[in-house]
């Protein structure tokens, strides 16, 4: 295979495999916080910002994969 083809393949694999973990993690966070809101609807205002912050932190591993993929493609 040519170098350019391998580069595209590597970038695709990097982001594709790297997106699995954060997707599962964010799903767990969303389901747990929705459960919590269902049990105690008054606490929704407190839970929602925490949920977003936790999601942003969980997302970061996916973002690392994305940065690696972008560096492979454009760097």
């Amino acid at each position: 295979m040519e170098g350019e083809t391998l580069k595209h393949l590597a970038a695709g694999l990097a982001i594709g495999l790297g997106a699995i973990g954060p997707a599962i993690g964010e799903g767990i966070i969303a389901s747990k916080s929705l459960e919590a809101i269902g049990r105690n609807p008054e606490a929704a205002n407190k839970i929602t910002p925490l949920m977003f912050a936790a999601m942003a932190i969980t997302e970061s591993t996916g973002i690392y994969a994305l940065v690696v993929a972008l560096i492979i493609l454009f760097g």
Binding site: P49, F52, A53, A56, I57, E59, S60, I63, Y64
Partner: protein, 242 residues
């Protein structure tokens, strides 16, 4: 039309041997905006607040209480609040200003071709790296100030036993990893947002980019919040006695 995505910011012009990039220009613009707003509010402080003063008061009071709940002491809050809140407001404003319509249409000729005058500040890794270094230095200063220099070094170089020595080395690697994880999180999110918008504008210029831009506004605020909060949590953790 060609898709142009680059990791490094474009150089507008040179002052002496120092290149002025479009992200640097934009960050000065953001700083100027913040300074002007601060001066306006500072000059017109009233006991019965107007609209602008009300907004700022709510923002500062709310975030001060939030910082207090995390640090758990008045003294630490007084030291930490200015640093953390400045980081939050600078990152948030810099990210939000990207959504001003038409700003990417203004271009400048730098001799080699036309480059856009404005670009998202946090999509320049240098800017994010400097902010991260500031927060890392704040962490180390807090750790040295509470535990003293010898205990601080003793945390990393521990000769009590092989396991302690290994754990000390792991602590050292953990400090280094914080630099990468903090900076890549912010940089990656903002750069990915920019790239996604560019790609979508290239594929389908009319309706399709809109939902992603809404998502971008959410990311802009949440990432500023996460960066400031993580700095706060790390410094608070570092300032606890070993």
């Amino acid at each position: 039309m060609e898709l142009s995505i680059s990791l490094a910011p474009d150089i507008l012009f040179n002052i002496g041997s120092m290149p002025i990039t479009n992200t640097l220009f934009w960050s000065f613009f953001v700083s100027l905006f913040l300074i002007v707003i601060t001066l306006i509010i500072n000059r017109s402080l009233k006991s019965v607040p107007g609209t602008l003063q009300n907004i700022v008061e709510i923002l500062i009071e709310g975030s001060y209480l939030f910082v207090q709940t995390i640090t758990g002491s008045n003294k630490k809050t007084k030291y930490l609040f200015p640093l953390v809140f400045t980081m939050f407001i600078f990152i948030a404003i810099a990210n939000i200003f990207v959504f001003i319509p038409g700003q990417s249409a203004i271009t400048l000729d730098n001799g080699e071709g036309s480059v856009p005058l404005f670009r998202a500040v946090m999509s320049d890794y240098g800017m994010v790296f400097i902010l991260t270094i500031i927060s890392i230095i704040a962490m180390q200063v807090a750790a040295i100030a509470t535990n003293g220099p010898f205990k601080y070094i003793g945390k990393f170089l521990n000769f009590k036993g092989p396991l302690e020595f290994f754990l000390g080395l792991m602590d050292f690697i953990g400090e280094l990893a914080k630099i990468l994880s903090l900076s890549f999180r912010l940089f990656g999110n903002i750069f990915a947002g920019e790239t996604l918008t560019a790609v979508l504008l290239f594929l389908l210029p009319f309706i399709a980019p809109l939902p992603f831009m809404f998502l971008g506004i959410l990311t802009a605020i949440v990432q500023a919040f996460v960066f400031a909060t993580l700095t706060l949590v790390f410094v608070t953790m570092a300032s606890e006695k070993v």
